[in-house]
């Protein structure tokens, strides 16, 4: 059986890839995908902990978090579509009306 640590390292790596993507990518769709990677790395954590402890709460939480991630993507894509209609681009660098 694969030790629990391997799963945790995998999920930590995915989470870091996600954060890196959010911080460096300028395209809104890339950012959305990076956020999805972060949310999915959490699901790996939940399911791994749940499988190794024999407690189902983690799997229930993973199911909820998948549903919430889907809702978040739906609203995110709608907002980016609106952004594209108003600005003609989803490059985040070009969207800067609100500044101090």
């Amino acid at each position: 059986m694969i030790p629990l640590n391997y799963y945790l390292v995998l999920s930590a790596m995915l989470f870091c890839i996600g954060i890196y993507g959010v911080l460096t990518k300028k395209n809104a769709i890339y950012v959305l995908m990076s956020i999805e990677i972060m949310l999915n790395s959490v699901n790996i954590n939940f399911v791994a902990f749940s499988a190794y402890s024999g407690d189902v709460t983690g799997q229930v939480f993973a199911l909820f978090s998948i549903a919430l991630a889907a809702a978040e993507v739906a609203i995110g894509l709608a907002i980016f579509l609106l952004l594209y209609k108003r600005y003609g681009t989803v490059e985040l660098n070009n969207i800067k009306l609100l500044r101090w």
């Binding site: 939940f46 902990f49 709460t57 978090s65 919430l68 609203i75």
Partner: protein
Amino acid sequence: MNYLILLPQMILVAIAMLIPAIDLYGKDKARILPYLASGALGISLLFLAIFTGIIPLEIFDITIPTSLFGGMLVIDRFALFLQLLFGTVTLFVVMASSTYIKKNERNQGEYYSLLLIATVGMMVVAMANDLITLFIGLEIASISSYALAGFRKNDKKSAEAAMKYFIIGALSSSIVLYGISLFYGLTGTTDLAQFGTALSNLNSGQDGLLAMATIFLIAGFSFKVAAAPFHMWAPDVYQGAPTTITTFLAAGSKKMGFAALFKVFLFGLISFKADWAIAFGVMAALTMTIGNLAALKQQDLKRMLAYSSIAQAGYIMMALAVATQYALGGALFHILTHAFMKTGAFIIVAMLSVMLIGSRVEDLRGLRIKSPITAFCMAIMMLSLAGIPPLAGFASKFVLFSSAIDAGGWLIWLAVIAVINSAISLYYYARVLKEMYVLPTGKNKPIRMKEPLAMLIPIVLATAAVIIIGLYPAPFVDAAMDAARALIP
């Protein structure tokens, strides 16, 4: 098992589902929808008032605290206090929206429906006693407010605000979720009530993981409450979003973040207070200082109020550094007064834009003639935000700061920083007063204008609340302390 205690939320959800249908088929819907939404909020507030005992009617057989769904939701004094607050804020916002959202604007059904659903989400956070329900409540409220921030679809700024709010919100949600998953791995449970015992059995090799999980939760929730160094999104979003939604975000959504912080740290992790209190102390000091200094040079009223709201979040965050029952009571009291002050101030800004006066600070010049009552209410709000006695802001700041001094040690320095910050903040609040009352109005004489009644009512009510709480704070302090006692016995 008495599910009747969820009646306020059930009514809100039912009406929220009904509103889009009426929007599709109904006639004269722009008139009906706000009435329907405020009616639902009014009835659910009425039930909440009966549950808390403000209205002494014994028609429901309900005990407080009630635990529902196997301890997933607990309705105690803390939950009822915050639910009443969230309901009141949304009621004010709906009343103001009936004028602010023009009769011919599209998607009105979605607007009111999402407002009610976001309120239910905030109420779920207040009731949550388990990380699952806490997170779901947080997401219900957040996802609805992303859409609300972009409600003005033809407005470029509104779209940009929605985009920024969405990216930051989703990022913070995933950070919170990662923290929760680590806590689940450490404790084997998501029940906040069992955290203390489960965590005390850890062996020393797991300390690092516990620290990491705590940091993730602090960072994620700090994004939600816009505490420095995670505050950069707030001014942009508050400025770009429709002003009624800004009211909702500043007075409601931000308080929901604090409700979650209080639940997790002051209830679940209170036994590890020594480890995280200092982090909150540093963040509180940073937040209030950055907020106040940045507010000094703002010319846009909405942006200035957004920075002021960041500073106020710093004051509330002091309670997490002090982490005593008295401090939590003070924080809840400040949340109450701050909600009224910010609701009033932001609805005034919304009304100025409806009256075509504009939302820059210098646009306020001559307001004392254009609309004396608005000028007076704005003056009261500004003085109260600065903490001038005998207004509500003074009373709540007094309780909050004295709790830090009570605790002693390094917390006294935190209180000193907070008092200095209050003095700094007086500068930009007084600038508003100066524009309204002191400066000459210039060549073109201002004329008396007519205020929209639906917006004047919430403004006057909020001002009255600020004055009443300031003059007679005892019952409100008692309610806040009762609520605090439910969390920290």
